[in-house]
Amino acid sequence: MDARIGIRNTKSILFKGLIVFLAFVITLPLIIVLLYIIKQGIFQVNWHFLTNVPAPVGETGGGISNALVGSLIIVLMSSIVAIPVGILTGIYLSENPHTKLSYYAGLCVDILQGVPSIVVGIVVYFWIVKPLGTFSAISGSIALSIMMLPIVIRSTEQTLRLLPPSLKEAALSLGVPYHRVILKVIVPCGFAGILSGIMLSIARIVGETAPLLFTAFGNPYLSTAITKPMETLPHLIYTYATSPYDDWHNLAWGASFILLMFVLILNIFTKLITRKWNIQL
């Protein structure tokens, strides 16, 4: 009898050991990748690197200003499209949970969330690149805004659902019209949750490469024309990482470092907001 209890206890302890080991071992790849990117990238980054376009093959130096400006413009344009649409749809879904439209819209959010990013690239290619006849920053922004939408919608919807109904009832009972209740009471109350959803979605799309391959395409020169091809950080990393030249690899390491830092800081910042406001996403 005693022996069996001993075996069972040992089993339990061994199992715990295994679980703890597996759970912590998986942070190793993350740490290794992070440290390696930092090690390779941090010394590339300086003022010259941030303000110059990539040097041609054979010349050392050069920077990634074209990709920085491009990523900024494209992410900004995607946000301008996706944030209003996302928030308004999220409001609709949280306000009308039981209509037919909200059922199908919710289904579509789930579908969009699952669509592989490369497929979004193909579709936007046929919607915008082909009719315009050229790769363009605007098509890249549309592709990325499609990637952004489901995250913004879901975070808005879930944040607003958590608000107590008494807030809305109190405002309505004072005779405040519906749109002002939503825009002046409900949305400000859920602001932190919506904001963190937006930041997460930006962190997601800024590193997206696949949809940009057939849309924004890339451009070795600094360009701010939104109807022309435009370079972005992830696309620059892709082209230069797969090139055979060491100078270009160095540019890509520097760009990876900047991209990684941006994404990590955005994520950590979001975590802090959600913790402070006690939001569950």
Partner: protein, 305 residues
């Protein structure tokens, strides 16, 4: 006069109210149109290939655009092999994380730190995993392959699976953590009161209770793995021919549906070629959407209980 003005104002407010409600409805309708539009575009654009290649396209073994022969079999195999290998590697880890953070250590700074680092794994852009893989993992795999006496490509299906495995862990893990924390404590306490050890409680109470939910998490991971493009494209070697033995396929270079689209879409110079690539995208779209929807359905069912 003032009374009229007030009335006008409140009429204006009422009009705005209707307008606002309409805007909400229109936005949701736009979303549905967007998804329907994506589907229609994919189907329309893959029509030429569906018409000229038929259903046999899916198991045609040869992909040779130069001679106008298109078969998706190498990519189907590549996609399935990478995804399921990645899944196989990742499942023990994501279950372990779920159990550790859901049951053993749900609170405290260590738990938070670990949970946040797991979520950071998903935050790192896939292009960075790919870049890192080319310069760090590929040489390691190459020397490993040389040691076990197979052609030392370095790149290939096995290498992609490894990176993919790491990338998809967070999707199953973060769901698993939430679900395991939802197991009602009376159930666990009852088992403890009967003299069960921790391991027995996990095996006979927590696991059966959360089985369907954890499975849904695995499905979400699988959906991610199937559609993942950049890291795989950079590491898989991009060969559209398929080797003869399983060992050569598994350790050698290959192609997935997503990676062949990424590589060849802008080079596709005639209609059927382009359309065949889009048909691959259509298949990918259907498979990932169905897997995701099943996963979501299971989760909704689980959380409503």
């Amino acid at each position: 006069m003032t009374k009229n003005k007030r009335l006008d104002l409140s009429y204006a407010q009422m009009r705005w109210e209707t307008v606002f409600r309409r805007i909400l409805i229109i936005m949701s309708a736009i979303l549905i149109l967007l998804v329907v539009g994506i589907l229609i575009t994919l189907i329309m654009q893959s029509m030429p290939s569906i018409k000229s290649l038929g259903i046999g396209f899916l198991w045609g073994k040869i992909w040779d655009p130069v001679s106008n022969i298109y078969g998706a079999y190498p990519f189907l195999i590549g996609t399935l092999l990478t995804s399921f290998t990645a899944l196989l590697i990742s499942v023990p880890f994501s279950y372990a994380i779920s159990i550790y953070l859901g049951e053993y250590n749900p609170k405290g700074w260590l738990s938070n730190l670990l949970k946040n680092s797991i979520e950071l794994i998903a935050a790192v852009p896939s292009i960075i995993y790919g870049f890192w893989g080319i310069f760090v993992l590929v040489p390691v795999i190459r020397s490993f392959e040389a040691k076990i006496h197979i052609a030392p490509y370095g790149v290939g299906i096995f290498t992609s699976s490894l990176v993919l495995a790491v990338m998809i862990i967070p999707y199953a893990a973060s769901l698993g953590i939430t679900l395991i924390r939802m197991v009602p404590s009376p159930l666990k306490e009852g088992a403890y009161a009967l003299g069960a050890t921790r391991f027995e409680v996990i095996r006979s109470v927590i696991m059966p209770y959360t089985r369907s939910g954890l499975f849904a998490g695995v499905l979400l991971s699988l959906g991610r793995a199937l559609g993942e493009t950049m890291a795989v494209t950079m590491l898989i070697g991009n060969t559209s021919t398929i080797a003869n033995s399983f060992k050569e396929i598994f350790f050698g270079p290959g192609n997935t549906m997503a990676s062949v689209i990424a590589n060849e879409f802008t080079e596709a110079d005639h209609t059927v070629y382009l359309s065949a690539l889009i048909e691959l995208g259509l298949v990918l779209f259907f498979v990932t959407v169905v897997i995701n929807l099943i996963g979501k359905r299971i989760i909704t069912k689980f959380t409503n209980h």
